[in-house]
Symmetry: C2
Subunit: 416 residues, 2 copies
């Protein structure tokens, strides 16, 4: 009897995580070697609760449409399993659920935390004597997973950011004589500046916006920052600043959390863009505007990158191939092959080398003044936003297909 | 000798104001009855300073590419001319510039302030004895001009907002069990709620996000708002709120400006989304996220509405037709013809009926509880976001053509 598979999404979703899900399910069908693909409702929580969705009830058309659907169609969650000793109950429950539903393959689609969980599940086979193959599948707009050249989800967020900055900069520039002089856009990236860096892709010519990029890798230097804003406004008439949510001050505190009562007489509500804006208003007396794109940047499948989408689908289908080849405890990663034109392939990498690691912007990607990115960074980033993948629209907005999301009948007692 | 024309952009730019400029210039060329079309650099300021751009130096390809270019290619400004008596100097200077460059047609592309200025310029002919025909051309993401059915620029902003809310809502929904419960998006619209209302177009089925829309037409009722947020989270697991920047409290103060020291112990930096977010954190203890799209929403030509683009081009080309038909002091407006399918045409309307008026959301467009919009509103809004006008991309971002922007040689003494 063919083994069934379980697929779960984990952590923050992306514009293309559903593309991975769709490709995985369709590849499993095509292989004819896997029974059913169940999806855990709301991530690992669904696996523990035996809240499973029978994806075989969805039409191929619906599954194909996942390519264009942001969010996580089966639900995701923030819930971390600890090590096998501390969380033995949870791991034993997972095995119960796997057994009850004849699950031989577990696919966990997430970031570095999830790679860690997947790594632990992959060890169950030996330690708790249940034959399960566990494959982690990369996903994160943060682009901070180790070993893989990039992470599915990042390229689309990067394309959104570059396009938005290009557009907003043209707006600001045209009004700058009598209106806004400084525009600030806050982007995600709590620990790594990949998303902020990608805004530099908006430049067509040297000196184009964005003029300043504040990265979480570099401690905020207020004096140098304000001086560069002033100089840019004086030289170009306006200044566009991209700031990562994770930028910290010299005391190691997030700017968005810093108590600014001393400086401005009142405290922050959070958000680093309004913090920077207030700084510019107070210290430079320059009219400014700010934007915080928040979830918009990681769910903008209407401007997804075709390359990113191809990555997302490839890691999904390769996860199935690796499982059928008998692999366990690996992740399909994206490898950039050395050639003048951008080329890539998928290879398996051991989870032990990925779990819990965080890849930050290398020093060589950051300009000397710490407020911009180098040509080397652009060479790396540029291929990842190539190509447009326009979703089908209906009635003026992206067309969302209906999903049945049929629950699998439970066989076990309620968990907790 | 053929008269030349002067075109100027005014006030906040939109995703399609350049489309109007391109259509106007190309129509003037085609007519063969107008000499050159000059563009004022940075709006009316350029006209006063004799800072003119010779658009005849641009290739037809560049002019056609304006269809896809956000911002204002010739620059815009916030600068209001007062009445003829108070600002006689300025009006006399305008005439000087018109005379020096043989300008017989003045096209002013803006909102209600600009319609007022254009109306005054249209009266120069009589009062100051200079034969000028002045045509105002509508433009504003605020959609608040009187008489015209809608304003070029609005439909594209509406499409951006509806699409963004659809996408972000799918993101929030998939994570809501263990993460964000309430998502708040701030949109523009200081006095009229057209943009906030358009977020309702994101709904496919009844009950879909956005669940609450806060309009500037309705005084903020904190108690009822919080109670609806709570109920929505309890019913659906999450709640999506769209809030217009112009929402006011019962004292008539913008929420974004209200001093909240009493309530939360500290004051605001501005931005109504963080205000609402803090309210939800403090009063309901619900995890929330917020976004402020700011200029992104009015410059997003990558997701422009095809219908809006067609409107923008039509008002541009009709402005030329009206000028050549001898009209003065009019605006080409968009008229919705009565039919089951959406149809529209362009007609001239007298500026006296448009200048300085502000069209707010009619009462019949707002739900009884004041926190949503009616089916009637959707019927009005829906046609305006139809169709996609994907700009050409190059190297991963929208392709921007180069413009020469050749200055016209000055003939007068420096102004001021």
């Amino acid at each position: 009897m063919k083994k069934n598979a379980l697929y779960a999404q984990s952590g923050g979703v992306t514009a293309v995580i559903n593309a991975t899900a769709g490709a995985l399910i369709l590849e499993a069908k095509k292989s004819n070697k896997i029974g059913k693909v169940f999806a855990a409702k709301n991530g690992i929580l669904g696996a523990l609760r035996e809240d499973l969705i029978d994806t075989s009830k969805e039409s191929n058309n619906s599954l194909l449409s996942l390519r264009y659907r942001p969010g996580g169609i089966f639900g995701s969650c923030r819930f971390k399993l600890k090590d096998l000793e501390t969380s033995e109950k949870e791991y034993r429950r997972l095995i119960e659920v796997f057994k009850a539903h004849n699950i031989g393959y577990f696919f966990y689609n997430g970031g570095n935390d999830s790679a860690d969980t997947a790594f632990k599940v992959s060890q169950i086979s030996k330690k708790l004597k249940y034959p399960i193959q566990c494959i982690a599948i990369p996903k994160t707009v943060d682009n901070d997973l180790a070993i893989t050249d990039c992470c599915p989800g990042f390229g689309s967020a990067a394309k959104y950011i570059a396009t938005s900055i290009q557009e907003a900069s043209l707006d600001v520039q045209s009004m700058s004589e009598t209106s806004t002089k400084v525009f600030i856009m806050e982007v995600m990236g709590r620990h790594a500046g990949w998303m902020a860096a990608s805004s530099a892709l908006a430049r067509k010519n040297k000196g184009d916006a964005p003029h300043i990029i504040l990265l979480p890798e570099i401690t905020f230097n207020q004096k140098e920052f304000l001086s560069l804003v002033k100089k840019t406004v004086s030289d170009k008439g306006f200044c566009v600043v991209v700031v990562s949510e994770g930028v910290k001050n010299s005391k190691g505190k997030f700017l968005s959390e810093s108590n600014t009562k001393d400086a401005f007489g009142h405290a922050q509500l959070g958000g680093v863009a309004p913090y920077i804006a207030e700084l510019i208003s107070t210290k430079l007396k320059l009219k400014n505007h700010w934007a915080v794109s928040d979830y918009l940047q990681r769910s903008a499948s209407h401007i997804a990158s075709k390359v990113d989408l191809a990555h997302a689908e490839a890691v999904g289908s390769h996860a199935i191939k690796y499982a059928l080849a008998g692999m366990n405890g690996v992740m399909p990663i994206i490898v950039r092959t050395k050639s003048s034109k951008y080329k890539w392939k998928i290879e398996p990498a051991p989870l032990s080398k990925i779990a819990n690691l965080e890849k930050k912007l290398p020093k060589s990607f950051i300009t000397k003044n710490g407020m911009g990115v180098t040509a080397k960074a652009l060479d790396y980033l540029n291929p990842l936003i190539q190509g447009e993948s326009n979703p089908p629209f209906k009635n003026g907005i992206p067309d969302l297909k209906e999903f049945k999301l049929v629950p699998v009948q439970k066989k076990l007692t309620t968990w907790r």
